[in-house]
C-alpha cells in the first residue's frame, strides 16, 4: 500500500478536525436544546404552581366563613342525609316548640315540587304567648337543619286570652339538589 504524501496527511488531518468540530458543535447544540426544553418546562410548571397558589389563597377566607356560618346555624351540610332529613327536621321543630311551652296543633308534611330546591315543607299549627312564638321564630333557623320559614300567620285565640294562634309553613332545603343545581348553572 502506498504511503500518504504530506499533503494528503494534512488534508486528512484537516478533514478530521473539521468533522470533530462539527460533531462537537452538533452535540453541544443538541445538549443546549435539551437543557433549554427542560428549563422551559420547569418555568411553565413554576408559573402554573404560582397561579394555583394565588387561586388557593382565597380559600383560607372561605373556610373561615364556612366555619362561622356552620357555627351560627349549628349546621354541617356534609352531614345532611336526604333520607332522614325531613323526619329529623320535624322532630327538632316539635322539640323546640315543646321546650318553649308552645301547644302544638296539627303538623302536615308534604314533598316539595321537583322544580324547587327543597326536600319538602312542614306546616305547623300551634298556640302560645307572643314571646314563645317569637322565640320559636328566632330558634327555628338554628336548629341544625336547613330550614326556611316560608310563611307565618298569627291570629288571636278567643278562648285563651293573652295567647295567639300560629300557623307556620317551613321549607326544608335539599343540599344535594341545591349542589347539583349549582353545578348545572356553573
Amino acid at each position: 500500500m502506498r504511503s500518504l504524501t504530506p499533503s494528503e496527511h494534512r488534508t486528512i488531518r484537516l478533514a478530521g478536525l473539521l468533522i470533530a468540530a462539527y460533531l462537537a458543535a452538533f452535540v453541544a447544540f443538541k445538549a443546549w436544546q435539551w437543557l433549554h426544553l427542560r428549563r422551559t418546562a420547569y418555568l411553565q410548571t413554576v408559573t402554573a404552581a404560582q397561579t394555583l397558589k394565588l387561586a388557593l389563597e382565597p380559600y383560607e377566607d372561605k373556610v373561615a366563613s364556612v366555619n362561622k356560618l356552620m357555627t351560627d346555624y349549628h349546621l354541617d351540610p356534609a352531614l345532611i342525609s336526604r333520607q332522614s332529613e325531613m323526619a329529623e327536621a320535624s322532630a327538632a321543630i316539635q322539640k323546640a316548640a315543646k321546650e318553649g311551652n308552645l301547644m302544638i296543633g296539627t303538623i302536615r308534611e308534604s314533598a316539595a315540587p321537583t322544580s324547587s330546591k327543597a326536600l319538602g315543607t312542614i306546616q305547623l299549627d300551634g298556640t302560645g304567648p307572643v314571646n314563645t312564638i317569637m322565640a320559636l321564630l328566632h330558634t327555628l333557623p338554628r336548629l341544625g337543619h336547613p330550614l326556611v320559614i316560608d310563611s307565618v300567620q298569627l291570629s288571636s285565640e278567643p278562648t285563651r286570652p293573652g295567647q295567639l294562634k300560629m300557623n307556620l309553613t317551613i321549607l326544608v332545603l335539599d343540599f344535594e339538589l341545591w349542589k347539583k343545581s349549582e353545578a348545572t348553572h356553573a
Partner: protein
C-alpha cells in the same frame, strides 16, 4: 505628549541585574535583593517587597499619569548589533530596520523589546545600532514598576555607563567589574560597537587567563580602557590588568556608594539625545487595566476562579431546572388536588350556607316594627306574612287619624313599600274603624338602611306591645 513642568516630576533611576535591583530618586535609594523561582521569574514575596519599596519612592496615584522610571539592564541577554542599511529618508528608516530585524535576529521583532540609534553615514551606508532583549525578560520588571505607579523605560546599562567616559576620537572600552562577572562595552567616537559579558570579576580575577583577544577583542592594544565597579580595589585591579595584558587601563573613580550605571544613566537622560530606549510591551497608560500583568500566577488563579463562576452562573438555571423539576411537579400536583377538593367541598357548602342565611325572612323585625307603629288601643288580628314579603292584616283602630298615622309610619320607616289600606269601614257602633291592609317588604338593600335592632329594650313611649292581645 510633553507634560507640564509641575506634573513632570523627578524620574526614578534603576539598575537591574539577576540578583539585585538598585533604585534611586533624588536623595532616596533602595537596594532590593531579587529572589527568583526555578523558571527565572521573580518570587511573589520579592514582587511584593519591590512594589512596596518602589511605591515608597513616590509612585504616582492611579488618577495621575505615572512618572518615568529609567531602568538600566545588565548585558546578560542583551543583543547589540550594528546594521548597515541603505541610505533612506528618516521616515522610512524604521520600516527598513524592521525588515532587517526580521531577517537578522533569531527572534521575531514582536517578541523583542528593542531600540535603535542611527550612527553617522559611512561608505554610502546608514549604520544603525540596535539593542534588543526578549520581552519575557522584562515582564516581571514591567509588572512591578507599573504596580508601583511608574512608567518604565528600559535601556542597556552598558550604554548608559558609556556616558561616564570622556569624549575621544579614538577607540575606547569600559569594563564594569562586579564580584564574579564583568561587562565590557567597546565603542568608538560614533557609538557602541559591541557588548560582552565576562565570567570573571574582582574576586576571581585569577581565572581570567588566556590571550588578550579572547577577552577584549582584536584591537585591544589600540583602545583606551576605563574601569568602573563597586568597592575600593579598582586601582589594584587596573594594575593587575595592565600587568597581565599590557592594556591602557584607567579606573574611573566615583564617590563612595555611587553606582557607575546609575550615574551614567542620569547623565544620559540629562543629555539632549537621551538614552537608547528599548520599546517594550508596556505602553504608557494611565488606565488601571493596562497595568495588569495577565501572566502573573495570582492573576491567572483569579481568572480561573472568575471563569468557573461565570460557567456556574450560566449553568445554574439549567441545573436548577433539572434538580427541582420533580420537586416542583410533586408540589404542583398536591396543590392541584387541594384546589379540586376545595372547589368540590368548600365552594358548594359556602354558597349553600350563604344562600340559607340570605333566605331567612325578617319576620321578627316585621313584627317588632308593627308593634312599635301601632297606636294605643289598636288591635291587629289576623296577621300573615310570607317569605316573598307579602304582608296582610286586619286591624281595628279608634279613629281614622290613627289609621293614617299607622300607615304613614309603615310607609316611612323603610321596611315596607306599597302600603295599601284595601278596605276601611267603621264598626256598627261607629266608635271604631276596621281596616284591611296589605304591604310588601322593601328590597333587602333598602331594608338594611333601617338598622332596626331586635332587642329586649323597652319600646318607645306610645308604642304598645304586643298589639295582638285583644
Amino acid at each position: 505628549m510633553i507634560e507640564p513642568a509641575f506634573i513632570n516630576s523627578t524620574p526614578l533611576f534603576l539598575t537591574i541585574n539577576a540578583t539585585r535591583l538598585l533604585a534611586t530618586r533624588g536623595n532616596a535609594t533602595v537596594d532590593i535583593p531579587l529572589e527568583r523561582s526555578a523558571d527565572g521569574r521573580l518570587t511573589l514575596a520579592t514582587r511584593a517587597k519591590a512594589i512596596a519599596d518602589l511605591t515608597g519612592l513616590g509612585g504616582r496615584k492611579s488618577f495621575l499619569a505615572p512618572a518615568k522610571a529609567y531602568c538600566a539592564l545588565s548585558a546578560s541577554g542583551l543583543i547589540l548589533r550594528i546594521f548597515q542599511l541603505p541610505v533612506t529618508t528618516k521616515e522610512a528608516l524604521p520600516g527598513v530596520l524592521q525588515l532587517q530585524l526580521e531577517t537578522e535576529l533569531p527572534l521575531p521583532p514582536e517578541e523583542l523589546a528593542w531600540g535603535w540609534q542611527a550612527l553617522p553615514l559611512a561608505a554610502g551606508k546608514q549604520p544603525v545600532l540596535v539593542a534588543a532583549v526578549r520581552k519575557s525578560l522584562l515582564e516581571d520588571y514591567i509588572a512591578v514598576l507599573t504596580a508601583a505607579g511608574w512608567q518604565p523605560h528600559f535601556t542597556p546599562g552598558a550604554l548608559a555607563r558609556q556616558a561616564l567616559c570622556p569624549p575621544s576620537m579614538g577607540k575606547q572600552a569600559l569594563l564594569e567589574v562586579d564580584a564574579t562577572s564583568s561587562e565590557l562595552v567597546l565603542f568608538n567616537a560614533d557609538g557602541a560597537e559591541s557588548v560582552r559579558v565576562l565570567n570573571w570579576g574582582g574576586d576571581n580575577f585569577d581565572t581570567a587567563t588566556g590571550p588578550v583577544e579572547k577577552w577584549f577583542g582584536p584591537e585591544s592594544a589600540n583602545r583606551k580602557f576605563y574601569l568602573t565597579g563597586p568597592g575600593t580595589g579598582l586601582d589594584k585591579l587596573a594594575q593587575q590588568i595592565r600587568q597581565r595584558w599590557q592594556l591602557n587601563v584607567e579606573p574611573l573613580t566615583l564617590p563612595a556608594g555611587e553606582s557607575a550605571t546609575l550615574t551614567g544613566l542620569k547623565k544620559c537622560v540629562s543629555q539632549a539625545a537621551g538614552p537608547l530606549l528599548l520599546a517594550s510591551a508596556a505602553k504608557p497608560s494611565t488606565g488601571r487595566w493596562s497595568r495588569v500583568d495577565w501572566n502573573r500566577p495570582e492573576i491567572r488563579q483569579w481568572l480561573k476562579r472568575a471563569a468557573i463562576l461565570l460557567v456556574l452562573l450560566l449553568l445554574l438555571p439549567y441545573v436548577e431546572a433539572l434538580l427541582l423539576q420533580p420537586l416542583v411537579t410533586k408540589k404542583y400536583t398536591a396543590m392541584k388536588a387541594e384546589k379540586e377538593r376545595m372547589a368540590s367541598v368548600v365552594d358548594p357548602e359556602l354558597r349553600f350556607l350563604q344562600s340559607l342565611k340570605q333566605s331567612q325572612p325578617p319576620y321578627l323585625e316585621t313584627f317588632l316594627l308593627l308593634a312599635r307603629s301601632a297606636p294605643p288601643g289598636a288591635k291587629l288580628d289576623p296577621l300573615s306574612v310570607n317569605q316573598r314579603g307579602e304582608l296582610s292584616l286586619r286591624a281595628v283602630f279608634q279613629n281614622g287619624q290613627q289609621v293614617s298615622d299607622f300607615r304613614a309610619q309603615l310607609s316611612t320607616n323603610g321596611m315596607f313599600t306599597n302600603v295599601v289600606v284595601e278596605e276601611q269601614s267603621p264598626t256598627p257602633d261607629h266608635q271604631r274603624v276596621n281596616i284591611r291592609l296589605s304591604a310588601r317588604w322593601n328590597a333587602e338593600a333598602l331594608r338594611r338602611q333601617m338598622q332596626l335592632s331586635v332587642t329586649n329594650a323597652t319600646p318607645p313611649a306610645g308604642g304598645p306591645m304586643p298589639p295582638f292581645n285583644p
